[in-house]
């Protein structure tokens, strides 16, 4: 099979996670105004500071314009045609897993995320979020023995209000951008992690986000705080059913690392991407930012983006601490009519701060895949260093790849290096593998996975193989 035929085979990719769970949900009416914001806050029995946070954000959002600078084309989103709160109807208080609706447990089983005691992933604690709410968090007890808090944002607001009040919005201010403001007004659930001083979190933490409704948006909010000398590795995964309409996902993730703390945040994003004609799929508008607040603190973002009709996200680091380190490792694969505008922002404030950016974009079908990255070096950041490498791979002749690097430096003693390359999947490499008996689809997927190797090596071990498989699945015509 020629590379053209191999590309053809890509266009029959199945989506394994496209099923809908039939479960009774509690939804509020479509549309957004101040009363909806108050209603969400009331449903979650929130303290007043949080209601005020939401109202302030809502007021700001109303004054803001949806950004149009990204290389993305999509019909205008009708924000009054979205349900802002949707929760599976279950017992008020989930005292234990036994109280969780079996249909929900079964859903996560089917997604490969077993929550029940016997079948749990070993050494990975999971928070499972279904539409607007967290339905279960595993290994809480074991983590608590080490003083690590891992729970849903809803629980954190009740149990650790002072921590939430102190850090929520401290990295991504409510008016940061249009989607962050919207999230700040209506966010539902998400995960909260707190790692105390000098504690190395004993297991991987993971949140699995599932959108189930066809008309509800998901607006989760995640906050991770790592105190002095602590470290934690966190992974999020995402899937959604196949609908021929689009669903909005506008999340905010904030990370705070104090002196000598280290946070590794990995994402495997596989939201439904729409069909081969570009119908349906998730609109993924996400704001993720880490604050390297302390000296020698370190925040590392690793993302494998394979899903969503539209991806708009720029996980970044504000490197405030002296000698702090920010890293961004990204693989973005687009196919059919998917559009991705993704990259990072590295803002160097502290002296001696360093950042590394490795981005691998793969575009096939009619998709558009853009890297957009900012490296900003402030006047105090003496001796700051950045290294960026952005590689794009094109499969077929209908796909597009763009690179938009922005470099701003107000510090003469800083070093910024940027390398970029674009290649087509090489016919000679493909032929070489085929001439050794490797069939063309497997050969394409081997080449793509080789192209992404530098980034996959950054993923936690448990997930590196998963990411490889996911990419192969996205690239192969076979049913997984």
């Amino acid at each position: 099979m020629s590379s053209a035929a191999a590309v053809e085979a890509l266009n029959t990719t199945p989506y394994r996670y496209g099923f809908v769970t039939d479960i009774e949900t509690e939804k509020i009416a479509k549309g957004l105004d101040e009363s909806v914001v108050r209603l969400i806050s009331a449903k979650k029995q929130e303290p007043d500071f949080l209601l005020q946070f939401r109202l302030k954000a809502y007021a700001q959002w109303q004054l803001m314009e949806e950004p149009d600078w990204a290389a993305l084309k999509y019909p205008a989103i009708d924000y009054q045609d979205i349900v802002y709160y949707s929760a599976p109807r279950q017992k008020e208080q989930k005292a234990s897993l036994e109280d969780v609706d079996p249909a929900l447990l079964e859903t996560f089983d089917k997604l490969g995320i077993p929550l029940s005691e016997q079948k749990r992933l070993s050494n990975v604690a999971v928070d499972a979020v279904f539409d607007s709410v967290s339905i279960a968090t595993t290994y809480k007890q074991k983590l608590a023995e080490h003083g690590v808090v891992f729970c849903s944002m809803g629980e954190a607001v009740k149990d650790y209000p002072e921590l939430v009040e102190r850090y929520l919005g401290s990295v991504v201010p409510i008016g940061d951008n249009f989607f962050a403001a919207l999230n700040s007004a209506v966010f539902s659930d998400g995960s909260f992690v707190y790692v105390p001083k000098e504690v190395q979190c004993p297991m991987e933490l993971s949140t699995y986000f599932r959108i189930n409704s066809d008309d509800a948006g998901q607006f989760e909010r995640t906050l991770i705080v790592a105190e002095e000398g602590s470290s934690v590795s966190y992974l999020e995964g995402c899937t959604a059913p196949m609908f021929d309409t689009n669903q909005l996902h506008a999340a905010v993730v904030e990370l705070v690392a104090l002196d000598d703390a280290s946070i590794k945040y990995s994402t495997v994003q596989n939201w439904y991407a729409g069909d081969e004609n570009g119908k349906g799929g998730i609109y993924n508008f996400v704001t993720k930012r880490g604050l390297c607040k302390g000296r020698r603190s370190r925040i590392s973002w690793t993302q494998v983006e394979t899903g969503s009709a539209i991806t708009w996200k720029y996980p970044g680091c504000v490197l405030r601490g002296q000698d702090s380190i920010g890293e961004f490792y990204s693989v973005a694969l687009t196919n059919h009519y998917q559009q991705a505008d993704t990259g990072t922002k590295m803002v160097h404030v502290g002296p001696g701060s360093r950042s590394t950016i490795i981005s691998k974009g793969i575009s096939s079908g009619h998709s558009v895949n853009s890297y957009r990255g900012l490296v900003n070096i402030g006047p105090q950041a003496r001796g700051a260093r950045n290294f960026s490498q952005c590689d794009s791979m094109l499969i077929g002749d209908q796909a597009a790849a763009n690179t938009h690097p922005y470099i701003q430096s107000r510090q003469p003693e800083a070093t910024v290096e940027h390398e970029a390359s674009t290649c087509h999947i090489s016919e000679d490499q493909l032929f070489y593998l085929q001439s050794r008996g490797i069939e063309s689809e497997a050969a394409v997927s081997m080449l793509v996975s080789g192209f992404c190797r530098d980034v996959f090596n950054q993923l936690p071990m448990e997930f590196a193989a998963e990411a490889d498989k996911l990419l192969a699945l996205k690239l192969e015509g076979s049913v997984g």
């Binding site: 020629s2 090489s426 032929f431 085929q434 008996g437 490797i438 497997a442 192209f451 190797r453």
Partner: protein
């Protein structure tokens, strides 16, 4: 394709039969009527000027998509080879050792060799080798070309010297156990020691039931591996066929002697 090999090969069986083959690339006709028959137990050498069509012939046999066959046929063990995909040709036992093996960054050489070897094994009805069994197998096999096992940990051909790339090609030949091996200028770019190692490797792998087509410019490879037939290509055809003495004569007198280009045209 059947999942196992047809009946075993006997010495003297016709393995590869090329008849009046015409092929072009990007509108240029490169092969203009090549005919060649190769039997089990034979070693053929294919010589000729750069641009005479030797490499093109090898790539057409292996199924490179850039080349279009416009006339003629290739049969492999009686089967229409042109109807098969490149991977099926390889699985059936046709091997091409590349003149310029490509580098494949990020793909582990060990994993590549394992997937490749298993594809061929599966076709022959042999059990596939798991990671551990394969690693033992490949380490043993590497001895044939005196290759350092450290090359298993590297990406395919990435940063290999010219000689290391060629040894990696012969290693692949050893793992795939082809019935017909076409080696495209495997000797070029090798120093004397590397040439001896590669030539010895090829000799070890040459059996009475297999055939080899050596594409080369140099007598020194043919000193090490004596060919049964020597063919000279020019302008997309085989102009002359002889035995090892033809190669010796070419070494002394050059190609002009064959195609008569040094004879003043009337």
């Amino acid at each position: 394709m059947p999942a196992c090999e047809p009946s075993p090969v006997q010495t003297g069986d016709v393995l590869l039969s090329i008849e009046n083959l015409h092929a072009h690339v990007e509108g240029n006709e490169i092969l203009r009527g090549v005919s060649l028959r190769i039997r089990a137990g034979e070693i053929h050498a294919l010589m000729g000027r750069n641009g005479s069509g030797k490499s093109t012939l090898s790539k057409v046999i292996a199924g490179h998509p850039a080349y279009t066959v416009t006339a003629g046929a290739i049969h492999y063990r009686g089967q229409d080879l042109l109807a098969l995909s490149p991977e099926d040709r390889a699985r059936a036992g046709v091997f091409l050792g590349f003149q310029y093996p490509v580098e494949i960054p990020g793909v582990s050489n060990l994993e590549f060799l394992r997937v490749s070897c298993n594809a061929r094994r599966q076709h022959r009805g042999q059990e596939e080798l798991d990671t551990f069994a394969f690693e033992d197998h490949v380490r043993d096999t590497m001895a044939i070309v005196q290759m350092n096992p450290a090359f298993l940990e590297r990406s395919v051909n990435e940063g290999f010297s010219g000689g290391e790339k060629k040894r990696n090609e012969i290693l692949q030949m050893a793992l795939l156990e082809p019935l017909v091996a076409i080696l495209d200028e495997t000797d070029s770019g090798l120093d004397i020691d590397a040439l001896r190692i590669v030539a010895n490797g090829v000799k070890t792998l040459t059996l009475p039931t297999t055939a080899t087509l050596l594409i080369t410019h140099y007598q020194r490879l043919l000193d090490a591996i004596t060919p049964d037939f020597v063919h000279v290509m020019a302008e997309g055809r085989i102009l002359r066929t002889g035995d090892k003495d033809l190669a010796m004569a070419l070494e002394q007198r050059g190609y002009d002697w064959i195609d008569g280009a040094d004879t003043p045209q009337p």
